[in-house]
Symmetry: C3
Subunit: 131 residues, 3 copies
């Protein structure tokens, strides 16, 4: 089962999409298997991280900007190579086991759509595969 | 099939958990499919890297500390934002194909639980999905 | 279904392997499920990123070299710890949902084998799992 979602993003943010993933799993009625959340873009990604203190997202965006600053030597004509680097570092998908009809997520884990080159209209997919 | 494991970690380390993953696969009797190793924490992750020279882990921990140093501007009250960054960079899971009842791992590949904010009692899951 | 591929790599490059993955999916006749592309090496990885402007790959390789420079303190005797760091950052596999017999890839997304310590003869695997 595959379901497509859309969202509008700001310039840069991690957007918590956990509830849409959980809802898709409930609709599937699948009890055991794998859930894959997939981003079809190249300047955005998917990660799993803390869902409690929003300062974690702020700090992660800062840490990624410092690790991958814009560079005068970059040649890509769109000028967003740092966004491509951040997207591949976070990864284009997250895989979560399903057990007894629930995502096997820790209590502090949320699933995030990571925008690095917005604002844009974006898409993501939730795939549910039975064991 | 899903199996839960616990481990005690030091402050920072990559702990080789390959043997527990292989044992879980043998117990499942599954011959073809996917193995997912999943970490339910937000300051620890899972990666696959060299299993031979332990200096590789030491160097990777150093390289990650330099890429994501602690910063005065970080706002998260727990003071462990660098651990959150490292966890998302390594990723919260690893996916390995299963073929003829074995993990499709290279000879130098080991599966590691990556602790970035220990010491703690930690958990990880091994999920085996048949083709 | 699991298929093995080999390739010869230069010192450092992202090599677009999308067509081999699509061909494997067509041969499998699987309509719904998951495709996993897996790298069995520890100084190479798999990522999904832009397939249009080759300058993106050039810039990403530069950004990764700057984020993970070689360091005098590194102890691994092979001297390629930066390649191990880059491999784990990109990840050893990519997972792509399959829908109606096609990979759910964005129009700008290509699947890349990431060489960080070549030239070498390398291997990768394409695993197709039915829903």
């Amino acid at each position: 089962m595959l379901k497509k979602f859309t969202l509008n993003t700001p310039a840069e943010d991690f957007i918590n999409i956990t509830s849409s993933v959980k809802k898709t799993l409930r609709e599937s009625n699948i009890q055991e298997g794998l859930c894959v959340v997939h981003c079809p873009h190249t300047t955005a990604g998917i990660t799993i991280n803390e869902n409690a203190d929003p300062d974690v997202v702020t700090d992660m965006l800062l840490g990624l900007r410092e690790a991958y600053p814009d560079r005068a030597q970059f040649r890509h004509f769109e000028g967003n190579s740092t966004a491509h680097l951040k997207a591949s570092t976070m990864g284009n998908s997250a895989t979560i086991p399903i057990h007894k009809g629930n995502l096997v997520l820790g209590v502090w884990q949320g699933i995030y759509f990571c925008e690095f080159d917005g604002p844009r209209n974006r898409t993501y997919y939730v795939s549910i595969t039975s064991e």
